[in-house]
Amino acid sequence: MFHSRRHGASGFTLIELLIAISILASMFVVIAASLKISRIAQQSAHQALAYGIASSLLEATAGLPFTELQNRATGTPLGIFPPHGTWEVKTDPNARSASNTLALTGTSTAISGISGALRIPTNAFGDFTAEAALKVPTTAPSGWSAGIVFRTLDFEHFYRYSLKSDKLLLERVQGATTTELWSQPASLATSTWYRPKVAASGANFTLYLNDTQYASVSDATYASGILAIASGGGTLLSADDVIVSSPSSLSWNFDTTNPGALPAGWRRPWIQDLPKATAALTIADWNGLSGIKKITAQVQWKEESGIKTIEITTLRSRY
């Protein structure tokens, strides 16, 4: 008599094969469904953030005088100073105060000479004293700059105290015009900590480097604005021991923050939290009327399914 199921005890029975296929199919269905739900959840989070960014871009223009709403196709935000470039806390064996620094790990396309900038999480100040230890890496391009931007309204309206390889410099940026208010030759090296400090009181700015006063400059163009750390010339940057001593007493050494993150308050959710995203604000005359502006905020980002766009438009009348 012969065995009815197998010849030579090799191969599978039909039932075994069906069970195996069922198991694989179940696994596939479960994993595919989970991935799909996960993707939907992620996309809805991206959409909510993109909407928040677009509405912030529009909201920020609401408080500006009509005359500031010049037609623009460049997309640069107005009335808001979001993070520029990629910032995170990093462990640095050469940190000014061990062991972490705040690092610009990726630059963005320069706007008004700013390759990377991050707001110091305070309110906007008129009078203040602020300082930060700054260092650019040895790989910094020859035109590098690092410094503090202050009384900042947006990327087109601010003062900038910069350290460059060959000078110290105070500039005023007003739209497309950058005006040098003061400069002094200096020889500054890469991979070296420098501590610029600005004390602003009314229209007077006192500038220090490593506790030595270098200049007292007057300019009354901007009365108040936010403070930020910034780099220029396409360089990366490290910052440590950021201190705002007046009108509030605040300081950050970044040592209790986990590497890869940002300290509480420093993180402003923006396009860096979306995959391959861009944000743009455009202003144009509405129907050819210069007294009515069409303001459009657009955020684009990339999902697996393709490019996603959120666009919000509003009209603003001179009258």
């Binding site: 069970i19 198991i23 809805s44 989070a45 909510a48 509405s55 309110n123 936010i226 509030s248 959710p269």
Partner: protein
């Protein structure tokens, strides 16, 4: 002649062992599928719940501020004193009656604040004027707050006309700690 069965009845030891092994494998794989599914489902529902609480919180902040007249530096709401700052925002809203008509010179007050004793919680509390259609309430907007900051465009908060809100909600699952970053800029007339 088959050596596996005698008279066509019963199983040999080896057949029994193979059957038990197959059943055990099927049981393990099935259990693993269900366990993975349970974990994934738990992780996804946590993520969705966290996201929803973040969306709800930011929409409440947006809704409150869109109708707001100005920021208050300090206010006592339902018997509790609050001050606007990096983790608290107090807004004054024109009071409206049930028909939607403005009540002259009457204002409701809304406070949004991060719980000082449990920093994961974001609350909103409303105190209303007499005749206002709004309800005196205290509501939990989110209990997954990782980071929240209100920054103003004037250091005298009651004079500020713009508020930047950064909110990050997150909640640990067994596998990860997904976070949802949200932000909002609000412009106020602040007369």
């Amino acid at each position: 002649m088959s050596n596996s069965r005698r008279g066509g009845k019963g199983f040999t030891t080896i057949e029994l062992l193979i059957t038990v092994a197959i059943l055990a494998t099927v049981a393990v794989v099935t259990a693993d599928i269900f366990a993975s599914h349970y974990l994934l489902f738990g992780s996804l529902s946590t993520t969705l719940e966290t996201e929803r609480s973040g969306f709800l919180a930011i929409e409440n902040i947006r809704g409150a501020t869109l109708g707001a007249r100005r920021i208050l530096g300090a206010a006592t709401i339902n018997g509790v004193p609050y001050s606007s700052g990096t983790s608290t925002l107090i807004l004054e809203l024109p009071a409206v009656d049930v028909s939607g008509n403005l009540l002259p010179a009457l204002y409701d007050t809304v406070v949004l604040y991060r719980d000082p004793t449990d920093q994961t919680k974001l609350w909103t509390e409303t105190a209303v004027a007499v005749g206002s259609a709004r309800q005196t309430t205290k509501r939990l907007l989110s209990d997954f707050v990782q980071d929240l900051i209100f920054l103003y465009n004037n250091n005298t908060v009651s004079s500020a006309t713009q508020v930047d809100v950064s909110l990050i909600v997150s909640r640990a699952t067994r596998a990860t700690t997904p976070e949802t970053p949200l932000s909002l800029t609000i412009d106020l007339r602040n007369p």
